[in-house]
Symmetry: C2
Subunit: 330 residues, 2 copies
Amino acid sequence: MTIHDLAKAAKVSVSTVSKALNENGRMADDTRERIKRIAQEIGFRPNALARGLLSNRSFTVGLLTNDTYGRFTLPVMAGISEALVDHGVSVFLCAIEDDPALGKIHVDAMLDKQVDGIIATGKRIDRALPVDLTGLPVPVVYAFTQGAPDSVTLTSDDGHGGHLATEWLQRLGRKKLVHVTGPEDFSSVRDRSAAFRELAGQDAPILYGPWSEAWGHAAIEQIWSSGADRPDGIFCGNDQIARGVVDALRERGVTVPADVSVIGFDNWEIVAGQTRPPLTTVDMNLKELGREAGLMVLALAEGKTVEPGLRRLPCKLVVRQSCGGDGLLR
Amino acid sequence: MTIHDLAKAAKVSVSTVSKALNENGRMADDTRERIKRIAQEIGFRPNALARGLLSNRSFTVGLLTNDTYGRFTLPVMAGISEALVDHGVSVFLCAIEDDPALGKIHVDAMLDKQVDGIIATGKRIDRALPVDLTGLPVPVVYAFTQGAPDSVTLTSDDGHGGHLATEWLQRLGRKKLVHVTGPEDFSSVRDRSAAFRELAGQDAPILYGPWSEAWGHAAIEQIWSSGADRPDGIFCGNDQIARGVVDALRERGVTVPADVSVIGFDNWEIVAGQTRPPLTTVDMNLKELGREAGLMVLALAEGKTVEPGLRRLPCKLVVRQSCGGDGLLR
DNA sequence: TTGAAAGCGATACCAC
DNA sequence: GTGGTATCGCTTTCAA
């Protein structure tokens, strides 16, 4: 089923068919309609390879990720795919773990296939993928991973997220706040911490540890046994820590949210939704971030210029029950 | 950088270059070596679009999924990608949610791009994707989703998984077993239940409910308050239920694994690993399943014939601490 | 052993 | 308004 067959069926030339289907060139309306009708009838679909050969556009982009776990990549991916499918663009998925050799293989394969652009995504904004994407013949957009200097990079605004969380606790009347979060070497941790201290006071306590439930438990143990003033509001660096915190509080007979408000970060449904009570948390809008990234590579691929640099997208608060006050302030 | 440039650089014709790089045709060894060397030097890479136009092979396959959550799809995807990258094949990822229209758009886009085959994957073997993949001009392999009759379909062997779990509890000396699992309308639930009863006895209790932690909790509540004999071994239909069960037992002062052994299903790291104690569980080998699926579409795309029908791949036991006995029997 | 030329499926320019 | 033809980058006969 080629354009040739269609031309024969419609008793016109291939060039006429091409023009009819692409809505360009001048021609009789009825000819155009007739050709389109016949195309429909016999189910003609143009070969994208042939088209791409001529136009130098494959309507294809590559997505490179080292997040095999999917926590961050999946929503980002969904956003990219959603944004691009409307433009007839398909997405190559390349999971490269942290293997530079594998990364190179995938990048080469994508370039061979003439991708219109590449989106690199990862797990944290302060680490780069193990593969060099500078000097490529196609545009590159970084999402949630460190880009080359002066590259187009998107990430979520951790400062904003930290602000939202802290502010929410304070609006609910919480005065003694603590921040239990991940390892300090994450820039996202530092950004959120800074936002937290800006609102909660420069001497508000911050506890750094691993990104785990166990650490949430341990942190409560530490705070409750220290003899110091106990907090009435706890801002956690992610939902897993928050879950550990909530469980530990329950085991101590402390009621959430009546006695203490707990707020998480990530809005990882599987954790936030299954915690008792379900977690109020900060959502990083990863899908939206993916959508933006998709539209950006596309714009770049079409030759438009995009302001380079790091763009931080705002977070949003998702209110469930671990802070109380829902219905009151929403 | 086309083959033409390379030909000029090597002072031979394009046809000679082509033959040299593709290792076919007879030619002087030194000519071949020289061309390959120059190709390397100037970094020539053939345009896959042009090549595909001629060969009718795009070295591209499409992956269709409705599992936006990624629980099942991600490992499957990783396996597919891993198996295919070695063959120079790239994977289009299409997340179609449960939207038939979106599904059709993606399938059409893939066909336009001349994919060599399509892999359909989902969340359960007894439901089909909302898109018809029969009568396509390319081979289709189904993984973890219901395929058309006489299609090539892969899934995990739930009966085998149920057998492994029950047997493990029994080998540890557990006598009074209970199975707490998901909704009975899942065929996987029925398969596992059947395997459970085969070993534990036809009147061994099975409790059906939703796939949630909350249900695990509720089931323990139900069992412990029923006055009936209490179990010393609990086989859970997934890790989330198992986690609910373990937490509920702890809250009742029942020690896992000393008093009761609990075994999960899925080996979902994020749940199984963070439970206290970490869950012994059944792994469905999803990555391996993906690898198989990838190799199968590839074989079909190359014209080889593959035995149609449903193939069930074995599960494996992952021993952590929720059953006790590790080190003893491993 | 090497090279010229046809053609894969589509688009676009330029005659008619 | 419609059709012939060159072209995209590569592979593959077939001649030289």
